[in-house]
Chain length 599, copies 2
């Protein structure tokens, strides 16, 4: 059945949305500009697409997905994508014109996995090929592992779109005679979510994981605890949450955790838990005051060095043996709840004044000890347990090796069981880490910290009380320019994130040690009320660059093209119930290239 | 019935929420710090509160509100606040301790209005007194006008709070033996919402108005149209929306408008419509191409002056008589739909290159004309109609008088029927306006523009493609510091907004001409998905400063105290279904003063 597109369809485009925001990707009423032929709209952009003709095939109402043989690890994904592909009616802002819908309705999406038993973990093969052969009621996805299959399923769901019509012509269609071959550049593509500065209900974490799956992000780095709160109920040490959580209803039980891990796993998303230590542990002092130094103190006492990088103090005392009994219980419980081979133990921002608040520490230092030695003690008393008894790879923040204040030597951090995560100094610190022989996860604040540029949050801050500019026209603290209170200002736009080359300046050898990157949402000024807008679509920008890069086939940065595609993708995410922020006025995607900086 | 509070209540505090975010104001599980005696928590803070004892009276389950005599203008508010006060169960983050609940349950809130027929408009009396006498089942609100009554009703709703218990002790209680006397410093306290760069469904506008009422904001400045879109369907000139709206479902019909105006009016909120002219009118070109210069052109052509301040070009041609026929139809329709005495006609950012794109304009200029003269022509051909036929006060942006590029003289803008709205140069431009004898609405971008600090949004922008800092350590375009692409960076925090003294540097005489202020949400990167977080609670900060100032009884800025109260207020707004962003980690309100910058 051939149906030529006509202006009638343009006028009839209704945008049916699964979410309440039904009116966000509308049929245009402004006169359409000359159209660029519609390309395939999949985010992240697949590595290789072959689609010779603008031909489409409809999705049959009885569309289903089958893996042969069936695999438990694919069961959830099959159910999810079957429902999504059958029911989603997404009409692009700029739908294609001049295409044919021909051929047999697609009734079956057949999945073939070569190695179905490969467990989810670091470095798994996520490649897939997808094909919609001509004149066939079947389409195919093949992959080495179930995780590649899941990536392919997401791609297939984005190939489908609807004209929006209420009749049969509104049934979704997919490109026909298309072959896609796809695989990620980096195996570690993540989001860090801080659930300690502010709490996020389980449903918001689940929705975030679903959104990650839509973007082929595959690591949920859960920064569970910090000085401000300890929300996770650990069976061996439940008092950490009893005293450390914000309230009884702001906790994650083991049931919650298993649910999240299971849900993520069903999408091929690893959950890497982080219980930050020895810094950032003020919240442990409710249950175990004896093992936390400088707890419950004002963070920045007058005329003295600050006890912490931000309000809420407390660090684990490396000189108290009880510290290690508690830490081991914590790590053991964590390993039981989180099956991932990686376990993140933090070790960022160790504050010397906080340790020195303890008399035993002061004695140790007076006897010739050092803060470096204290940290080394701590790492040596926890890391081997994590690595050898719990059989995990340890992940730490860059500080543990790079400082600048407190650090340990490389002998304390064997390369084969240590991964380091960057956050300062952009490409410089990545270089330092990989040049030292370590694997790196890149989270440079100046590119990937999603909380930057939102002003400061400490109270009683007179620096905001400014009524004029300076006499010489230089900006004051807050206006114009200036940080506005945010240490890592300015706000990182999606373009800034997209353009970041995490391998910048590295040799080939060094580059091999970069596992990938994570955008980070620190939650001092974020919680469930604003979560989606904070994450999306900026995390999508990183998702594409880490999956298939940020360059076009001509070798040049493709951010202009990405703007067009990200606009569409943003609206599709909204339709899927993710309240992503808009990146431009809607006028812009409706008028391609007219909102560029230059012609 | 006296019920002493006990730790039991603390542990039982459950936070029932009208919204889905039920877990956001929790019973604390961390050990409570020494408590400051609970003050009355009303935002904005009332001018005068007398409450000698920490005594409370319960709200009876049969609580109702009655005005004697009844007034049509109060009918909706009475219904709304009756339902709210009966059903809301808000438990503060830091509830009071050591109080008594005694006295008779309050069954009636009696309203007395001296001048019930005063219509809603500029400068109406919004003062009220509120009293909860001891041992009485009635409380009272008295005011000169219905609008004062509505302010008092909101205050009463915030006086009420709940212990959270499931039994009768969970019934809300209000302070007993309390007298409040309250009135605003400024009569114009508003939010500007731009619904042209991106569209907002009616329900999101209604929710915003409800949130405004909660904050005693009283002006909704609706920036309805701009170059990018023209969403309002005007009966005389429907093609402006037919061709200018983003889509048939992204419009505001006259029914929509009446609904919004009525809903706002029921809360004592004025709706001031703005149809920006002669700049910002690219969207008119679909219907009337002949009256728009430089329409549909690339905004920043290579090696030429830009045709507009941002992508999407077009300005009304002052030399085409048809311009005025259309403009008059627009203004007439607007006046029919919006009853407010003020009508905003824009006149900001007139671009000379855009006008010069027209050959007739070029001829005019070559014959000795000027851009100033063109603007003067336009204003003289539209403003008198607005003022004398439609009987409105005209509101314009400061540009029309101050330029810097194109402006008119004071004789074109009679003081008694012209109000000017500032947006540049902070206190300086306010001074210039009021010193010239005009009334001012203050919206200084460097304090009140809510969109600042979110990076830039134009596409194909290579300035974000930066992998390193500069050699000399100076910040590059984007990091660290720098604008990050936003012309008015950095982000304006609530503290920045709160601390702004809109009368800074003015004489007493000049200050009298400042009507008040408006925070502005320009929507290039905002729509319904993120609206609440963009507005709230930052608009609340302006709401208090404009209602009762930003200074304590000691004459000093009270932002530290405001932090405590705004934290509580933020959570209450969330409970009322407004997805306001958090201003701090939840740890902070739970540990008063511990998150301050200094002790």
């Amino acid at each position: 059945m051939a149906v030529a597109a006509s202006p009638y369809f343009l006028l009839l485009f209704l945008f049916h949305s699964l979410a309440a925001l039904a009116s966000l990707a509308p049929p245009p009423s402004q006169p359409p500009p000359p159209r660029v032929p519609q390309k395939v709209q999949v985010w992240p952009k697949p590595v290789s697409i072959s689609w010779p003709l603008p031909a489409y095939a409809p999705i049959s109402p009885s569309f289903n997905i089958r893996a042969s043989p069936s695999h438990p690890s694919l069961r959830h994904a099959i159910a999810y994508y079957t429902r999504l592909i059958r029911t989603e009616r997404y009409t692009p802002i700029m739908p294609p014109v001049n295409y044919t819908v021909s051929g047999v309705p697609i009734r079956l999406l057949a999945l073939s996995v070569s190695d179905p038993d490969v467990p989810l973990g670091p470095g798994v093969d996520e490649s897939y090929t997808l094909s919609v052969p001509p004149n066939s009621s079947s389409a195919d996805i093949s992959a080495a592992t179930p995780w590649g299959i899941i990536r392919g399923l997401e791609t297939f769901s984005q190939l489908a779109w609807s004209s929006g019509a209420a009749d049969a012509s509104g049934q979704p269609i997919v490109p026909s005679e298309i072959e896609i071959s796809d695989h990620p550049l980096f195996t570690h593509r993540g989001i860090l979510l801080d659930t300690a500065r502010n709490y996020y209900p389980v449903r918001d974490i689940l929705r975030t994981i679903r959104a990650m799956a839509s973007n082929k992000l595959n690591v949920f780095h859960w920064h569970i605890t910090d000085s401000q709160s300890f929300p996770i109920v650990l069976p061996s040490v439940p008092n950490l949450a009893n005293f450390g959580s914000y309230s009884p209803v702001m906790r994650y039980t083991d049931q919650d955790v298993r649910r999240i891990v299971r849900y993520a796993g069903a999408f091929g998303i690893r959950v890497i838990p982080e219980i930050d230590m020895p810094g950032h542990t003020g919240s442990w002092a409710g249950a175990y005051p004896e093992i936390v130094t400088c707890a419950n103190k004002f963070w920045a006492p007058t005329a003295k060095p600050a006890l912490a990088a931000e309000p809420c103090t407390g660090q684990l005392n490396p000189l108290n043996p009880k510290t290690y009994r508690v830490a081991e219980d914590v790590l053991r419980d964590l390993a039981a709840l989180f099956p991932d081979p990686y376990l993140h133990a933090g070790a960022d921002e160790v504050n010397t004044a906080c340790w020195e608040d303890d008399p035993v520490v002061r004695g140790f230092l007076a006897d010739g000890g050092s803060h470096d030695r204290l940290l080394e003690l701590f790492v040596n008393a926890t890391r081997p347990f994590l690595v050898h008894e719990l059989n995990r790879t340890s992940v730490y923040w860059e500080d543990v090796l790079l400082g600048p204040k407190v650090s340990v030597g490389q002998t304390v951090l064997p390369h084969d069981t240590t991964v380091l995560q960057t956050w300062n100094n952009g490409a410089e610190n990545t270089k330092r880490i990989v040049a030292a022989g370590y694997r790196a996860i890149v989270s440079s604040a100046s590119y990937y910290y999603l909380d930057c540029g939102h002003g400061g949050w400490v109270g009683n801050d007179s620096r905001y009380d400014v009524q004029e500019k300076e006499h010489d026209g230089m900006p004051l603290f807050n206006d114009p320019g200036g940080t506005g209170g945010s240490w890592c200002a300015p706000f990182k736009t999606w373009q800034r994130i997209y353009d970041y080359d995490i391998l910048h300046g590295l040799t080939e050898d060094e580059a091999r040690r970069v596992l990938g990157g994570e955008v980070a949402l620190w939650s001092e000024q974020s919680d469930a009320a604003v979560l989606d807008g904070r994450l999306w679509p900026r995390a999508s920008a990183a998702a594409e660059t880490l999956w298939s890069g940020n360059k076009g086939s001509n070798g040049r940065k493709r951010y202009a093209n990405a703007t067009v595609r990200l606009n569409e993708w943003r609206y599709r995410m909204v339709a899927r119930g993710i309240r992503a922020e808009p990146i431009q006025p809607l006028w812009c995607p409706m008028h391609p290239r007219m909102c560029n900086l230059s012609q």
